[in-house]
Symmetry: C2
């Protein structure tokens, strides 16, 4: 075995051991060192580059590494074999993906306000916030030589009596602790009960003096980012919040590469472990630690994710999702319990999944549509979820149509060299002085917080401002010179937003032409999807009465700038509202409210799905949209007039 | 760590490693070296004696080891600490317990005949041999861009149609393999279905060309011996049979010591592992290997065992079973699935347990009572199950009363120095010439099989013959001299049944006074229980119209000899029948037939339970019965007349 040391620019070190000849990217994956590999290790994308800092690698040469770079030690990890002890420098463009778990990072006042507003909107739409869980106290006669009923029958009788039901179910987990709890508390116990019609299922049994806590877990499984809430199921109070990078990222940036990866031997297990053991369980443990909730008191879970994420989460083959005729194993399922998946919560907790409606419109969108409440209004509304898969729903209380496009992780700061999620230290807004080209930044966090990176809303502002100031061309190339403008030896330009001395970062925070290009493709995917979907209905953007924007892009999103770079259609700015992480808000509602759970199923059944890849015009629209703001300037009349 | 080598008289060696100061009995248990410890390591019984063959032990002296024995190297393992590398000789009296797994050892023609007879009796009593499992073939339309129903909905529709049910359940295990199987076989599949009223549960899905095999597993979990069958659920054919020692034996010979052991830290897990991981899973693997059945095709399991065995099997606290008021967690339960217990069969297989009716009358008796068919006859019948717990049922189609007594493992060859189960090489019958004192033996197995040890029926014959020939006294002490009679230096007598040269054994096969004493106490427990139970009903033995004897004692049982040693009441010999392992036959019936399953519940509900320990006369009756044949000779008039 050889020793492999992964070094990070922030000074962190991770050590692993590899067999002679083992693939370096595989070693990194096994060690949970997240090296960006959007193509999943097929030497196609050139993103998994690392730098040899000591020792030796047996690496094939590829078109992605120049001779000069090769001489400097740059290698593609997917074509490198370990042949000796070796030290590897993992560059920041990759380490930006390292899972940054943050407990309570949805705690910003604005985010919380947006969340509470969504809850209120759902309640206003007539959804009662009530669920099927309750705590029931029962007192049984103690057994004696004259009263010899066994414990389980004694409990069933007591539950039938207390709940007025004729059928009671005791799962194995309760059977196993029954004798001990009953005797410890002299046959006075508290029960966590799940009711369904005439049936009461005893989920848990606690002694009379234990604190009965009935909690729930809502999770938004995004392709790039996973966000979660633990709530009190009795009053809906949020007890903990957290988010983290999706651990599957090292198996590909988008769903297609992950599906390809899960097709390999043992791949399903690897992808499932990456989301469950490496992402969700640590997230649950951290939230429980922060809030004092016992994981064993989480009795219900709701998951919202796209169709692929749902299948990989359940350990179910996702390959049919990407292969014509695109038929997944399930849209909806009630077969899942926590113990089946190895989740660190109550083993018999039921897992509710927001239903998918197609291979590329999943539970994140049905849950998000619930949260958007567009189904409750006569106004023609456009709901846009800016995730790695960008998803759109257009409609009102009469009809709804949805579609999805692959935008990549740029909106969440992925695929951007200094990108990050909208947490403390993120540049969330920016203006640039046209004369001096000096930026003025707004940073997420407390007064005095120094910038660490750029979140989605910040990138929109910077690109919009660079374009407005004539610093970049409509194609995103630098066309002015200055202290903050740099070109590397290959000619790639970049703009320094914050010099290292002013930043809480190990290097200058900059936006490169590659970053800008990635973002332009992301925004182009969204805009072209809007055009094609409305076109398929013979609608025009002028008919849109409101636009609800969701996603991890950040509450700082400047709609005017988003329009001016051609991401959103050029309509009145008052029509735009940012509604935060609607997938998580929807999952929250489904978790806490059985009526919301039913409503989402209803929404899913009534939604039409448009498969963009079947629309002949989509590719042309996309290409035309990869421009600032668009190749057809007439689509942006308000910009023309300026 | 020190090296501990356990040596056996047959030349086997087992090596283990122990921490300095570690208890030797614990080391043996961890290593699966079964040293007999009926008192479970409390230095009370003196049975865990081993001999130091090399190295050193730090052992307390006890009353169980004389000074001379101590000097010879004899030690009690439960009071010995490992303080150096050490070699330990495990004497045969202990190694007799070593788990002797035997696949197909119920295969003797007599045993099989008895088993088939029992099946026929149950069928004659009107029980239909049918169950809720079936294989259904379905053909679905293949999905297309115009038919985009997801796999699970497609399957549910097909099942509703094929089975005429309105509700279909797909467990997680099926969801996980759905996509692959459907596509591999072009949407033509076979389903293993469990039906209940209007519900069809899809237990498994197989491609059209796979061989669908629907098997079941019946297990009799005895305190000393575990027996099992794998059957074809479609026609009831027996595909494999096996038995093995219960791996829990090293935690105590009887249920009380095992309950005490499971009360210790981690004890429940240890006892459950001993029965599941160490006994049942190897037994299942061996049977599947022998018969070519895939463990994944075992979709239903039925377990018959006493109340303690059932609780330890389920990993449920058994302590309340032994503590007044003797209330177990369950008599019946439908909460158990194979995956909960880590059994090597289909994870979602339901586990049916023959119901317990009291702390000391369990599922082995309710299942056995089903097999005895005494509930189907007007004749007053006595059903006797000769196990480690001896259990009795008396009654007819009008009423039934049951009771249990602790007989110890002697009937199965346990607690007997040369004892063994009724498998190949067991001496199952014996006569002794009064003059020469030479024995004539009947050995289980093929022509020419040499004796290995003595099974229960053989012990009855030998004791009866020794008594008839005046070789032993009514107290079981040797009172004649001869070549085959020996006395060791402490004066303990023994009778050599087969000299080493004539045996397939590493030493002479003999019966010692300690063996005889153990057996007399076992038979005394049975006889006194019969007396007390009949007495409580104001019945007399003369009113018994038939006696059905069950248990692992062997089909060779000589009823006349059993009467002559005072084990069974002195009534006409034609009234006695040996019905084999009724617990396993009952479990078989319940496994294969849903009606039998219901019938056992019915039998259990209608059976009265007599707690012998609450009967003041029981102890006196027991003491009076520990004599050949009994202290009150008038109870055995037929013997008097000889």
């Amino acid at each position: 075995m050889y020793k492999v040391t992964f070094q990070f620019e922030n000074g962190d070190d991770v050590t692993a051991f590899a067999a002679p000849g083992e693939n370096l990217l595989e070693v990194a994956r096994k060690t949970n060192v997240a090296i960006d590999a959007p193509c999943s290790g097929n030497a196609a994308c050139g993103k998994c580059r690392v730098k040899l800092a000591g020792g030796e690698l047996d690496s094939a040469k590829t078109r992605h590494i120049t001779e000069e770079e090769y001489a400097q030690g740059w290698r593609l990890s997917c074509v490198s074999k370990v042949v000796a002890d070796v030290e590897i420098l993992v560059p920041d463009i990759a380490s930006a993906y390292r899972s940054r778990m943050k407990v309570a990072d949805l705690g910003s006042a604005e985010e919380l306000q947006i969340f509470e507003k969504t809850k209120a909107d759902i309640a206003d739409a007539g959804i009662a916030f009530k669920n099927d869980l309750e705590v029931v106290s029962v007192v049984m006669e103690e057994p004696s030589l004259d009263n010899t009923m066994p414990d389980n029958e004694r409990l069933v009788w007591a539950v039938e009596d207390a709940c007025g039901v004729s059928s009671v179910k005791l799962p194995f987990a309760v059977l196993q602790k029954l004798a001990e709890v009953l005797r410890k508390s002299a046959f006075r116990v508290q029960l966590v009960i799940r009711r369904a019609d005439d049936l009461a299922e005893v989920l848990d049994i606690l002694s009379a003096d234990e604190k009965a806590q009935v909690c729930g877990l809502a999770v938004d499984i995004g392709t790039t980012t996973v966000s979660a809430l633990i709530i009190d199921m009795t009053d809906g109070a949020i007890l903990a919040k957290a988010s983290a990078g999706n651990g599957q990222i090292r198996y590909g940036a988008d769903v297609i590469n992950r599906i390809i990866e899960q097709q390999k031997d043992g791949g399903r297990k690897k992808l499932q472990d990456a989301i469950i053991s490496e992402t969700l369980n640590p997230l649950i443990d951290a939230m429980c630690g922060a809030s004092g909730v016992s994981p064993q008191h989480i009795y219900r879970m709701c998951v919202a994710g796209n169709t692929t994420m749902n299948h990989l989460f359940a350990g179910v083959d996702a390959d049919p999702v990407r292969m014509e005729p695109f038929i997944p194993t399930f849209f909806e399922t009630d077969s899942l319990y926590a113990q089946d998946l190895g989740l660190h919560i109550y083993p018999h907790a039921r897992i509710i999944m927001a239903p998918n409606i197609g291979s590329y419109v999943g539970g994140d969108i049905t849950a998000g549509t619930l949260a958007s409440t567009i189904w409750n209004s006569e106004e023609m509304s456009l709901f846009i979820d800016l995730g790695t898969n960008g998803e759109l729903v257009f409609g009102n209380s009469e009809f709804m149509m949805s579609c999805a496009c692959s935008a990549g992780p740029a909106f969440e700061g992925g695929d951007i060299s200094c990108g990050m999620r909208a947490t403390d230290g993120a540049i969330e807004a920016c203006t640039i002085d046209k004369e001096t080209m000096e930026p003025t930044l707004t940073i997420v966090g407390d007064e005095g917080q120094k910038p660490i990176g750029i979140c989605g809303s910040g990138i929109i502002d910077i690109i919009s401002e660079l374009f407005r100031c004539g610093i970049i061309s409509p194609k995103g190339k630098f066309i002015r010179e200055g202290e903050r403008i740099r070109h590397d030896k290959y000619g790639m330009g970049s703009y320094v937003i914050a010099f290292k001395k002013d930043a809480a970062s190990v290097k200058d925070i900059e936006l490169t032409e590659v970053d800008i290009d990635n973002f332009i493709r992301a925004k182009g995917a969204i805009f072209s999807a809007i055009r094609v979907m409305l076109g398929s209905l013979d609608f025009d953007v002028s008919m849109i009465e409101r636009v609800l924007v969701a996603g991890g892009i950040g509450s700082g999103i400047n709609m005017k700038n988003a329009v001016s770079i051609g991401m959103f259609p050029d309509i009145e700015l008052e029509k735009f509202t940012y509604i935060g992480n609607s997938s998580l808000s929807g999952a929250y509602a489904m978790l806490y409210s059985s009526e919301a759970e039913a409503k989402v199923a209803d929404v899913a059944h009534n939604m039409t799905y448009l498969e963009l890849s079947n629309e002949p015009s989509y590719m042309d629209e996309f290409v035309a949209s990869c421009f600032l703001p668009h190749t057809d300037a007439t689509l942006f009349p308000s910009l023309e007039m300026k």
